[in-house]
Symmetry: C2
Subunit: 386 residues, 2 copies
C-alpha cells in the first residue's frame, strides 16, 4: 500500500543548512534544493574535484578546496607555513607580488623583497645572489603570472635556482596561470601551489585551491588559525568532508568544469591559451599598441600601452559604452596608462576576435587612421598558420 | 557607419577575473559572463545588499559581507575584537557554542565557559554571577539558536544582564536565527551580530555577514589578520568595494533574496517561521516524538527524540531512502539519538506538511501503530486556528 507513494517523489530537505534557495518564481511557488554537504554524494563531488585539480596542478599531492577568494588561500599559505620572525623572500613584480609582502608583513615575517620593474623580467642572477645570502630563508613567494602587468615569471628556472642553494619552501601563486600554463608542481619542486575558481577554471568566484608538497606537509607552523587551518582540512577532505560549510553550488560547477577540462585535455587547453595570447599580441601590435613586456607575456592576459594619441582610460570607456566590450585598465602606478586585455577561462577564438574588432572600431572612432580589419587579420593569420 | 554596429551587441568581457564560466552547452558553444565586481553596477549590488541586511539585523550600522562560511565571520569577530590574553565568556550549549570556545582558545584568549546541558536552558542567575565575577571581561559570545539542539537562547535577557554589570562586548551568532527570529541588534545592544547566506536568507552557502556596533567599532584589536581584516572591509564596502574578489553570483542571489524578504516583510516572515515551528512540534509530539527542550525551541529547527521503539538513525535512513525526505541526525554526543527537522529558508507550509506525512508513513513502515494523518492533522489544525 505505502510503497506506491514512493513513486514520482521529489527530494525534500529539512536540514539546518543548506536551505532551499529563493527561486526565480518567487517565494512559495517552488522550492529549489541545494545538495546537502554532509552526504556521501557530496563527499564524492569534493573527492572528484580534488583528484581532477591534482591533475591540473600536475601533482601527486591532494589539493584542498577552500571557500574564499584566492587571497584566502594566499593567507592560508603564509599562516600555515611560516612562523613569526621567519626570513622570507618575495618576488614583487606588481600588485599581486605586493600582496605576498603585505601578507607576510602582517604575520610578522622578516620580509625581503626583490622588486621587478614594469617591463622587466626577474633578474635571475640577482635572485641567485639574494638566495645565497640568506642561509636561513624559510620560504620564497612568487606569482606564476603577475596579473597587474601580464608578466610571466619563469617558475621552473626560479625553482631550480632556489632549490640549488636553499631549503626554503617554494610558494607559487598560480591563480591566473593554472589551466593556461604548464605548472608542473611535482617535477618543478613547487612546495605550495595556489589557484582560484574564477580564473582558468571558468567557475564563478568563491573557491580557492591550495596544494602542498610532502616537504611542506612536514613544516606546518604552530601559528594560531582556524578557518584557514590546513591540517584540519587535510584530515577531513581526505574523506571529502570540508571543515566548514563549503560553497556547494560553486563546487558543483567546478566539478563540471574540471570534467570539461579533462575532456579537452590540459595540454590542448594550454596550447589554446598560448596561441590566443600570441595572436592577440600580434593583432594589438599591428594596431599600434605596445606590450609592457615583449617577451615574457602570460597566456591569459595581454597588457599594452595604447597607440600614440590614445588615452587608455578613454579607450576602455569607449569600448565599454559603445561596443559593450569590457577590458581592465591599469592598477596603482599603471592606472590610466595601460589596457589589460584578458582571455582566460572558457573563452574561444571567436570571442577574442570580436574583442579585437571592437578595439579597431574604437580606435577609428577616436580618430586613429587604421585600416579596419588589419588587427583581426593579423589575429586570424597567426591562428591559421601551419 | 560604425554606429550601426552597436545594435544588438552582447556584452563581452576580457577581464583578468571573473572569467566566462563553463556553460551547460559545453565549451565553445556559448559564453556566460559573470558581472565584473569592479564596476559601479556591482558596487550597487553590494550596497543594496548591505542596506537590506541592516534592516534584517535591525541595526543602523552597516553589515559587512564576507566570502566564507559562517565560521569565517565568527573568526573575524574573534580576531578583530579580542586580543591575546583577553578574558572572554562563552555560553556553550552545543556544537556551535563549542566552536566559539575553540576559536577563542586558538587565538589565546582566556576562555571561561558556561555550559548548558542538553534539554536545559541557560541558567540566568549563574550567568549573572559569572559576569559579576569577571570585572575585566572583554567579550561574551553566544548563539541565538544552538543548531545542534534547536535551543533558542534569550538574547535580549542575556544582553540586559550583561550590560547591567559589564563593559564586555556582546557577540551573537545569529547564523541560523536571522530572518526567522527577532534579533534587534541596536535596541538589544548587540555589539557584533553574525549571519550566513545559506540559512534564513535562502541563498547557497559561501557568504557570511557581520555587523558591528559603534562601541565595537572603537575596540578593534591590533591582531594580525588579512582576509578577515574588518577595518579594511569597512573602508572599501562603504563604497560597495570588497577587499577581495567576492562570490559574485551568490551576491546577486542574495540581493534578490533580500528584496523578496522585504516584499514579504520581516515580521511576517518571522511569524511564518514561528507558526511553522509551533505546528511541527505539535505534530511530532502527536506522533510520539519528544522535543529535546519543551519550551525553548528555535523557530527554524525542531530537535526530537524518536518514539519508543524507533531508532533515530534508522528512521532518518528510511525517510531518505523510501521517501526522499532528508533530515539531519544528532552531532557529537547526540549522534544516533535524535532527529533534527529543520524548516528554515524559503520553506512553505506545504513543504513541511509533506515532510510530516513522510514521517508518519515511515513510522508505520517501521512497525509503529499510528493513525495515519494524525500528525498532519495536528499540524493543519494549529495552522488553521484563529
Amino acid at each position: 500500500m505505502i510503497s506506491d507513494k514512493s513513486l514520482l517523489l521529489k527530494t525534500r530537505q529539512f536540514l539546518p543548512g543548506p536551505t532551499p534557495i529563493v527561486s526565480s518564481n518567487g517565494f512559495g511557488t517552488s522550492v529549489e534544493n541545494i545538495q546537502y554537504h554532509r552526504t556521501e554524494n557530496f563527499y564524492q563531488v569534493v573527492t572528484s574535484c580534488r583528484e581532477k585539480l591534482a591533475r591540473v596542478m600536475q601533482t601527486k599531492s591532494q589539493p584542498l578546496i577552500i571557500t574564499s577568494s584566492g587571497t584566502g588561500a594566499m593567507e592560508a599559505a603564509v599562516v600555515n607555513l611560516t612562523s613569526e620572525g621567519d626570513e622570507v623572500l618575495v618576488v614583487n613584480a606588481g600588485k599581486f607580488g605586493e600582496r605576498w609582502s603585505l601578507l607576510c608583513q602582517s604575520y610578522n615575517c622578516n620580509v625581503h623583497e626583490l622588486p621587478v620593474a614594469v617591463g622587466d623580467g626577474l633578474n635571475l642572477e640577482l635572485f641567485e645572489e639574494s638566495i645565497k645570502s640568506k642561509p636561513k630563508l624559510k620560504a620564497c613567494f612568487i606569482q606564476a603570472y603577475e596579473t597587474s602587468t601580464g608578466l610571466c615569471l619563469p617558475v621552473e628556472k626560479i625553482s631550480s635556482i632556489l632549490k640549488a642553494h636553499s631549503q626554503a619552501l617554494f610558494v607559487v601563486d598560480g591563480i591566473s596561470a593554472l589551466c593556461a600554463q604548464d605548472l608542473k608542481m611535482d617535477s618543478w619542486h613547487i612546495d605550495c601551489l595556489i589557484g582560484g575558481s574564477q580564473k582558468g577554471f571558468g567557475v564563478p568566484p568563491g573557491l580557492s585551491f591550495i596544494a602542498l608538497s610532502s616537504v611542506a606537509m612536514e613544516q606546518f607552523s604552530d601559528r594560531q588559525c582556524f578557518y584557514f587551518d590546513l591540517k584540519r582540512e587535510f584530515k577531513g577532505q581526505k574523506k571529502g568532508v570540508t571543515a566548514w560549510t563549503p560553497a556547494i553550488t560553486l563546487l558543483e560547477v567546478l566539478d563540471q568544469s574540471l570534467s570539461k577540462i579533462e575532456e579537452i585535455g590540459l595540454n590542448n587547453l594550454i596550447e589554446h591559451h598560448s596561441l590566443l595570447a600570441q595572436s592577440v599580441k600580434l593583432a594589438l601590435k599591428e594596431l599600434g599598441f605596445v606590450p609592457l613586456n615583449e617577451e615574457l607575456c602570460s597566456n591569459t592576459l595581454t597588457a599594452v600601452y595604447p597607440p600614440d594619441g590614445i588615452d587608455a582610460k578613454k579607450l576602455i570607456q569607449h569600448l565599454r559604452e559603445k561596443y559593450k566590450v569590457i577590458c581592465a585598465g591599469g592598477q596603482a602606478g599603471l592606472s590610466g596608462k595601460i589596457v589589460r586585455f584578458s582571455h582566460l577561462g572558457f573563452v574561444d577564438t571567436m570571442d577574442v576576435l570580436s574583442g579585437i574588432a571592437a578595439v579597431e572600431f574604437s580606435l577609428k572612432d577616436l580618430g586613429i587612421d587604421i585600416r579596419l580589419g588589419s588587427g583581426v587579420g593579423a589575429f586570424m593569420q597567426n591562428l591559421g598558420k601551419e
